[in-house]
Symmetry: C2
Subunit: 383 residues, 2 copies
C-alpha cells in the first residue's frame, strides 16, 4: 500500500468537493446553465482578489496568464522593470524577451524580498518605464513580496504594476484594489485548490489604457476580445473554456468563502509559523531571510552533509510525502514544503513526522520528536 501526501507548492491537493465536480457529466458552454456557473466564478474571483476590476479567465496554466499580461499591456521596444528574485520573477523577463519588450532586471537576493525604495529609485531614474513586474509569492524560494508598498511606489508613476499572484491570491492577503495592483495573475492549481489549466487575470482601468494601445500580437490570450465577450447579454469566453476546471473553481470559491477570506489568510499564517518552528526545532535553517508574509511555502536549507535532493527522494519513496526540491542554483541545497491551499495541521503532522524519520535515516543529528512537538506547540498558541 502506498498512500500519497502531496505537500508541494503546486499543484496542491484538491478538496473532495472540487474533485467530485470534475467527474460530473460535461455541460455545453453556450447554455444558460454554464453561463450561470461562469458568471459566478468571475464574480467570486473578484471578491477573493478584492477587486472591482474586470477579471478575465483563460484556459491555460499560470504561465499563460503571465504571457497574457505581457502581450496585452506592452508593445515591442517598450521598457519595463522586472523584479527578479526567483525563478518565477525571471520568467516574466523571459516572456518580455520573447515579445521584444526591453526588460530591465532588478535582481535581488533570492532569500530576500524586493525593496520598494529600489523600485522607486529605478522608476525615477527612467520615467519611460511602462510597467513593473513583481512576483507576489515566489514559489521557488518561499519569499512573499510587499505588494502594498510596491503598489504605492508604482501608482505615482505612469507605469502599471503587474503581479504574479499564482501561489498567493486566495490563500495570502492580497488586496488588489487597495494595494493598487493593475494586473493580477492567478492560476487554478495553487491557492485556488483546483486542478491546473485555468488562469485568471484582473485588469485595472490604468492597465486597459495600455492594452488598448499595445501592438504586440495576441489572439488566444487577447484580453480585449475576452472583455467584449464577457459584456455580452449572455457572458461567455471567446473560445471553448476549460469547462470542468471552471466548475471546479466555483466549488473551490464556495469553500474559501464559507471559511471566510481573512480566516483563510490566518490559517495559512498559522500553518507557516508552525512549520517554521518545527524545522528550526530539528536544527534546520530556513532559506528565506525575509520571512514576513511568507506563508505559502517553507523553503528549508538541507543540512550541509546531506543532499537536499536525497531528502526529497526519501520523503517520496519511503513515506509517500511529496515535497519539492530547489530550482536553478538552489538545486540540492533546499527543499520546499508547500502549505498553500487545502492544508490543515494534520497534513503538517504527517509532513514533519516523515521529515523527522527521513533526516534520522540520512544521518542528521537531532532529538527525535522535537519537530512535531514544536509544530504542535506553535499551532496551539494560536488557539
Amino acid at each position: 500500500m502506498r498512500k500519497v501526501y502531496l505537500m508541494t507548492p503546486g499543484p496542491t491537493p484538491i478538496p473532495p468537493e472540487v474533485l467530485l465536480t470534475q467527474a460530473e457529466p460535461m455541460v455545453h458552454h453556450r447554455t444558460p446553465q454554464y453561463t450561470a456557473i461562469f458568471v459566478d466564478v468571475v464574480e467570486g474571483l473578484k471578491r477573493i482578489f478584492l477587486t472591482g476590476n474586470d477579471v478575465i479567465t483563460l484556459a491555460a496554466s499560470g504561465t499563460g496568464g503571465m504571457e497574457a499580461a505581457v502581450a496585452n499591456c506592452f508593445s515591442p521596444g517598450e521598457r519595463v522593470l522586472v523584479c527578479a528574485g526567483g525563478k518565477f520573477g525571471e520568467r516574466f523577463g523571459e516572456i518580455c524577451k520573447a515579445y521584444s519588450i526591453q526588460a530591465e532586471f532588478y535582481q535581488y537576493d533570492w532569500d530576500r524580498a524586493a525593496d520598494p525604495a529600489e523600485i522607486k529609485k529605478r522608476l525615477t531614474a527612467d520615467p519611460g518605464i511602462k510597467g513593473v513586474f513583481l512576483t507576489h509569492s515566489e514559489t521557488s524560494t518561499g519569499v512573499v513580496n510587499d505588494v502594498q508598498a510596491v503598489g504605492k511606489v508604482v501608482a505615482e508613476t505612469p507605469a502599471i504594476l503587474v503581479v504574479d499572484s499564482i501561489s498567493g491570491a486566495g490563500a495570502l492577503e492580497m488586496r488588489t484594489d487597495d494595494w493598487l495592483v493593475d494586473v493580477l495573475v492567478a492560476g487554478s492549481q495553487k491557492a485556488l485548490m483546483t486542478p491546473p489549466g485555468l488562469a485568471a487575470v484582473a485588469v485595472s482601468p490604468k492597465a486597459w489604457e495600455l492594452i488598448e494601445q499595445s501592438t504586440s500580437p495576441r489572439y488566444y490570450f487577447d484580453l480585449m476580445r475576452a472583455r467584449k465577450k464577457y459584456a455580452d447579454k449572455s457572458p461567455q469566453t471567446p473560445f471553448t473554456p476549460a469547462i470542468s476546471l471552471v466548475k471546479g473553481m466555483l466549488a473551490a470559491i464556495k469553500l474559501i468563502e464559507a471559511e471566510g477570506l481573512e480566516r483563510v489568510w490566518e490559517r495559512h499564517r498559522r500553518m507557516a509559523l508552525s512549520t517554521r518552528a518545527a524545522v528550526r526545532a530539528m536544527g534546520l535553517e530556513l532559506y528565506a531571510r525575509d520571512l514576513e508574509r511568507a506563508y505559502a511555502v517553507t523553503a528549508v536549507k538541507a543540512p550541509a552533509s546531506i543532499d537536499g535532493a536525497e531528502i526529497v527522494r526519501v520523503l517520496n519513496r519511503k513515506h509517500g510525502v511529496i515535497v519539492a526540491g530547489g530550482q536553478g542554483d538552489l538545486k540540492g541545497k533546499i527543499f520546499r514544503i508547500g502549505h498553500v491551499g487545502y492544508y490543515d495541521i494534520h497534513d503538517l503532522l504527517v509532513a514533519i513526522g516523515a521529515l523527522e524519520m527521513t533526516l534520522a535515516e540520512l544521518g542528521h543529528t537531532f532529538e527525535r520528536g522535537t519537530g512535531v512537538a514544536a509544530l504542535e506547540r506553535t499551532y496551539m498558541e494560536f488557539g
Copy 2:
C-alpha cells in the same frame, strides 16, 4: 427531473472511464508517476494520429493549438493560404492577421469541401506561399475536407500543410504521415472524449525547419521549448500541464485503442449515415452538399417556416437534448447534431425521437416515426 443529452459537436459527452479519472487525487507533474502517464499520452496520440512525428501537448483549448501552429511556423510578412469554408477555417485567418502574417483566403462555399485543384492553382501562381491552412472537419458546417488530396498538392511545394483536426482525429480517418500533413492540431473535447483545455500539435520535420526560422513571438506556445523538454531523460512540459485532463486523455486513448481505431472510424460513418437517413426521412434537407467523409456533425437545414434557433431551444427546454445552432451567416438557418466521440445508436434514437416531437410541436408536417425508422434501418444495414 431533467435528464440532459449532450449532442453538440463539442464539447462532447465524456465516457465514465474518463470522468472518474477527473475525480482522482491530484498528482505532482514532476514525479515518475506523472511522467509515465504523460509519455503514454504522447505515444498514444501518435498512434491515433498515425504519425511518427513529434506530438506536443499544450494546456489550452483547440484555438491555443491553432495559434501555436501560426506563431511557431511563420514570421511577420510571410504569405500563407487559408482555406476558409466555415467559421473555423476563418479563425486561422484571424490568427494570421493578429501575427501580421499575410493570409490569402481561398473562400469556398460553406456547404462544399475545398477543391484541391484550386489550392494547387494558387500555390503554382504564388510560389512564395509558405503554408496552407485547412480545416479537416469543419464543425460549423459538418463538411469534411479531403486532406489526403490536399496533402499531395502541398507536398510538391515548399509550403507546409497545417490541418485543424480538432473534431476529426480520433473519430474520423486521419493518416497524418501518409496524407503528408505537416502540422496537425487536435483538441481534447471533441473526438478525443476528454474535457476541454488540452490541445495537441503533431509536427513534421518539414514544419520544424520553418519553426526554427520563425521570428514570431511566442513563449507559452513555444513548440521548440516543448520539444526540448520532451527530450529530457524524464520527459516533461515546460510549464505546469493540465494534469487532470492529461490523465483523462490517457483513459480516452485506451478506450479508442480497445475499440480499434478503424472500427471507431467505421462507427462514426455508421452514426452519420443513420442520422442523415433519419432527417431526410422527416422531409428535412442536409446543409452540406459535399457529404463524403462528413461523419462528425450532421448540419440540417431548418424547414423554411421554422426558425432553426427555435428547434434548438425546444430540443433543449422540453427534451434536454442539447444540439447546436448555426454560426455566423447560418444563424437560425441550420441546426447541428454532433456525433463525434462517445456516441452510439441509442444516443441518436434519443436525438431523432426528440427531434420528431420538436418538429411536430413547431408545425412541420411529416409522418411521425419515419425519422426513427430510417435511423434504425440504416443502422441495421451495416449489421
